[in-house]
C-alpha cells in the first residue's frame, strides 16, 4: 500500500459520490419540470366553469363536471368491488395459507398481477364484458379498475396482518374465540391503518389509469350516472383532448391533469400520514 494507491481510492470515492449526487439532481430535475409544467398550465386553465359545465365540443367553452363525477363514480365502485375481495384474499395469505404451497402460488401470481400492464387488463374486461354485452359501459370500466385495486390490497393486507404479533392471536384463541372472530375483531382492528393505507394507495393508482378505461368505459360527452352506458372520466378526457388540435381542449386537458396530479399526491400524503401516525410497535 502506498500513497498513490490510497489517492486512487479516494479519487474513485469522490467521483462516485459526485456522480450519485448528480444522478439524484438529474432525476429530481425532470420530475420537478413535469410538476412545474402541470402546475403552471393547470393554474392558467382553472375557472369556475370546470365544475359546473360539461365537456364541450371543439371550439366551445365548457368544463369537466361530467368527467370528474364519472371518475369519482368509477374509481369508487372499483374500490368497492376490489377492496373487500382483496382484504379477504390477503387474510387467506396471512392467516390460512402461511407456508402452504397454494399460498405461495397465490402470492406469486398476485405479485405478477400487481405489475401487469393495465392495458392488458382493459383488453381482458373488453373481451369478457364489452364484447358480450355489445356496448361500452361504466360498469365494465369499474370492473377493470377493480382488477387493479385487487392485487394492491391483497399485498398490503397480507403484509399488515403478518406484522400483528402471534401472541395476540394466541391470546384471543386461548380465550375460546373462534378464528374468524379473532381475525375480524382482533387482527383487522390491529392492522386497520395499514389496510386503509393500502386501499388509499390503490385509489391513487386507479384514479389516473387511462389505458383500461379506453376499451371499457370509453368516454361520454354528456352527463350520465347510468352505469350501463359509456361514462366520461378524467384520464380519457385528458388523452383525447391533449391529442386534439384545439386550444380550448388543450387547456381543459391541462386542468384535468392538474387536478389529477393534485389528487394523487394528496392521497399519497394522506396514506403516508396514516402510516407514520400508527406505526406499529411490537415491544
Amino acid at each position: 500500500m502506498n500513497a498513490w494507491h490510497i489517492g486512487v481510492r479516494g479519487a474513485k470515492n469522490a467521483v462516485a459520490q459526485v456522480l450519485a449526487t448528480l444522478a439524484t439532481a438529474f432525476g429530481l430535475f425532470w420530475l420537478g419540470w413535469i410538476l412545474w409544467t402541470t402546475l403552471l398550465n393547470g393554474l392558467a386553465s382553472i375557472n369556475l366553469a370546470l365544475f359546473t359545465q360539461m365537456t364541450p365540443p371543439p371550439g366551445e367553452t365548457g368544463g369537466l363536471l361530467n368527467a370528474f363525477v364519472g371518475s369519482a363514480l368509477m374509481s369508487g365502485l372499483g374500490v368497492l368491488i376490489g377492496a373487500p375481495i382483496g382484504v379477504l384474499a390477503g387474510t387467506y395469505l396471512a392467516e390460512y395459507g402461511r407456508g402452504a404451497w397454494f399460498g405461495e402460488v397465490i402470492r406469486f401470481v398476485n405479485d405478477i398481477l400487481l405489475s401487469a400492464p393495465s392495458i392488458v387488463l382493459g383488453l381482458f374486461v373488453y373481451t369478457l364484458v364489452v364484447a358480450r354485452v355489445g356496448h361500452f359501459s361504466a360498469l365494465a370500466g369499474s370492473l377493470s379498475l377493480a382488477l387493479i385495486v385487487l392485487p394492491v390490497v391483497v399485498r398490503t393486507t397480507d403484509e399488515m396482518l403478518r406484522l400483528v404479533p402471534t401472541q395476540m392471536r394466541e391470546a384471543a384463541l386461548s380465550l375460546g374465540v373462534p378464528q374468524w372472530k379473532v381475525t375480524t375483531q382482533v387482527l383487522y382492528r390491529a392492522s386497520l391503518p395499514g389496510i386503509v393505507t393500502g386501499i388509499l394507495l390503490a385509489l391513487a393508482r386507479i384514479s389516473g389509469e387511462t389505458a383500461p378505461l379506453l376499451f371499457t368505459a370509453l368516454n361520454n360527452q354528456y352527463w350520465t350516472t347510468d352505469l350501463s352506458a359509456p361514462m366520461a372520466n378524467v384520464p380519457v378526457v385528458i388523452f383525447q383532448y391533449a391529442m386534439s388540435p384545439y386550444d380550448n381542449w388543450h387547456s381543459l386537458a391541462w386542468a384535468g391533469a392538474f387536478f389529477l396530479t393534485l389528487f394523487v399526491l394528496l392521497v399519497g400524503l394522506a396514506a403516508r400520514a396514516i402510516v407514520s401516525r400508527h406505526r406499529m410497535t411490537h415491544d
Partner: protein, 320 residues
C-alpha cells in the same frame, strides 16, 4: 364405583361460521389466480382469429394493413423492445446513483425527505408524463437537441444510422427518454429499499477496515443485494414494456420499420390504445387482442423473473 361421564365436547357454535369464513377467504385468494389465468385465456381466445390466420408469421411480419386485413406484429414488438431498452439504459445508472445517494452519501436529514419525494413521484399517473412529453419535451428536443444529434452523432460509424433523421421531436428516442424518467423513481425506490436491508454490522465492519463509501456500496452492499437489485430492474423493465399512455403521446404512431431512433415508431401498447376503438373489422380487432396476448406473455416472463430474484433476497434475510 361410578363411572364419571364427561360431557361430550359440543362443537363450538362458531364452527360453521369459522369454516364459512375460511372458505370465503380461500375463494377470494383463488379469484386472484383465476383473474390472471382468465386474462391470459380471454386474450388467447380473442386473438384466435389472428393467430389462426397468420400463424407464427404474425410475430415476424411487418405488414400492418387494415384495408387488406393483413396484420403482423413485428413493428410494434420492435418498438416496444427498443423503447424499453433505451429506458433501462438511462434509468438503471441514474437509479443506482439515487439509491446510493439516499443510503450512503446524503446527510441524514436529507434522506427521509428526498426518499419520500421519490416515492410520491413514482405514483404520478403515466398520462401526466405523456402529456408533458408531447407539449414540452417534444418541441424542446426538436428545436435544441435532435438537430445537434443528427449533425454530430449521425455520422458516427456503426451507430450513426440510429441517430440520423429529421428532428421531428416525436419518435423512439423521445419515448425511451420519457419512459426512463417515469421508471427512475420506481427503480430507485426499490433499490433504496433493498439497500436498506443490508445489515449495519456488515457495512460498519467494512468502514472500520478503512473502506471508502464507494467501496462499501460496490463491494459490500451490491453483492449482498445483487439478486434483488436485478429483480428491481426487471420490475422497471416490465413497467416500461407495458406502459401505454407515456409512450402513446410521443411515439408518433407510425407503422414503418426504420433503423433511426429519431423516426416515429410504434409499440404494442400504443398500437392497441390508438387503434382499438377504431378497429372496424373482426380480424383487425382480433389482431389487436393478439398483440395484447404477446405483450402479456413478454411481461409475464419478465415479471416472474423479477419476483423470483426479489424473493431470493427476502429468503436469505429470513434465514439469518
Amino acid at each position: 364405583m361410578s363411572v364419571i361421564t364427561l360431557p361430550v365436547p359440543t362443537r363450538v357454535a362458531g364452527d360453521a361460521a369459522d369454516r364459512g369464513f375460511r372458505w370465503l377467504a380461500t375463494g377470494a385468494a383463488l379469484l386472484v389466480l383465476v383473474a390472471l389465468a382468465a386474462a391470459a385465456g380471454s386474450m388467447l381466445w380473442g386473438g384466435r382469429a389472428a393467430f389462426g390466420k397468420f400463424g407464427f408469421g404474425f410475430l415476424v411480419s411487418r405488414t400492418w394493413d387494415p384495408v387488406a386485413h393483413e396484420f403482423g406484429a413485428l413493428i410494434p414488438i420492435y418498438g416496444t423492445l427498443v423503447t424499453a431498452l433505451i429506458a433501462i439504459l438511462i434509468a438503471v445508472p441514474v437509479s443506482f446513483g439515487i439509491a446510493m445517494f439516499l443510503t450512503e452519501v446524503a446527510p441524514k436529514w436529507m434522506r427521509g425527505a428526498i426518499g419520500a419525494a421519490v416515492e410520491l413521484l413514482a405514483a404520478i399517473p403515466s398520462i401526466i408524463y405523456g402529456m408533458w412529453g408531447l407539449f414540452v419535451l417534444v418541441p424542446a428536443l426538436a428545436e435544441h437537441v435532435y438537430p445537434w444529434v443528427d449533425a454530430h452523432m449521425g455520422s458516427w460509424p456503426l451507430v450513426g444510422v440510429l441517430f440520423s433523421g429529421p428532428p421531428l421531436g416525436l419518435g423512439m428516442l423521445t419515448a425511451g427518454l420519457v419512459l426512463a424518467i417515469m421508471i427512475i423513481p420506481f427503480i430507485a425506490s426499490v433499490m433504496r429499499e433493498v439497500f436498506l436491508t443490508v445489515p449495519g454490522r456488515l457495512k460498519e465492519s467494512a468502514y472500520a477496515l478503512g473502506s471508502t463509501r464507494w467501496e462499501v456500496v460496490w463491494d459490500v452492499v451490491l453483492p449482498y443485494t445483487r439478486s434483488a437489485v436485478v429483480g428491481g430492474i426487471f420490475l422497471g423493465l416490465g413497467r416500461a414494456l407495458g406502459e401505454t399512455m407515456a409512450v402513446t403521446f410521443v411515439l408518433g404512431n407510425s407503422h414503418d420499420l426504420t433503423a433511426s431512433l429519431l423516426m416515429p415508431g410504434n409499440s404494442i401498447a400504443a398500437t392497441i390504445a390508438n387503434e382499438f376503438t377504431e378497429a372496424d373489422s373482426p380480424m383487425y380487432r382480433s389482431s389487436l387482442i393478439a398483440l395484447g396476448f404477446v405483450l402479456f406473455l413478454v411481461t409475464f416472463v419478465v415479471l416472474a423473473a423479477a419476483r423470483l430474484m426479489l424473493r431470493r433476497l427476502s429468503r436469505q434475510e429470513g434465514n439469518r
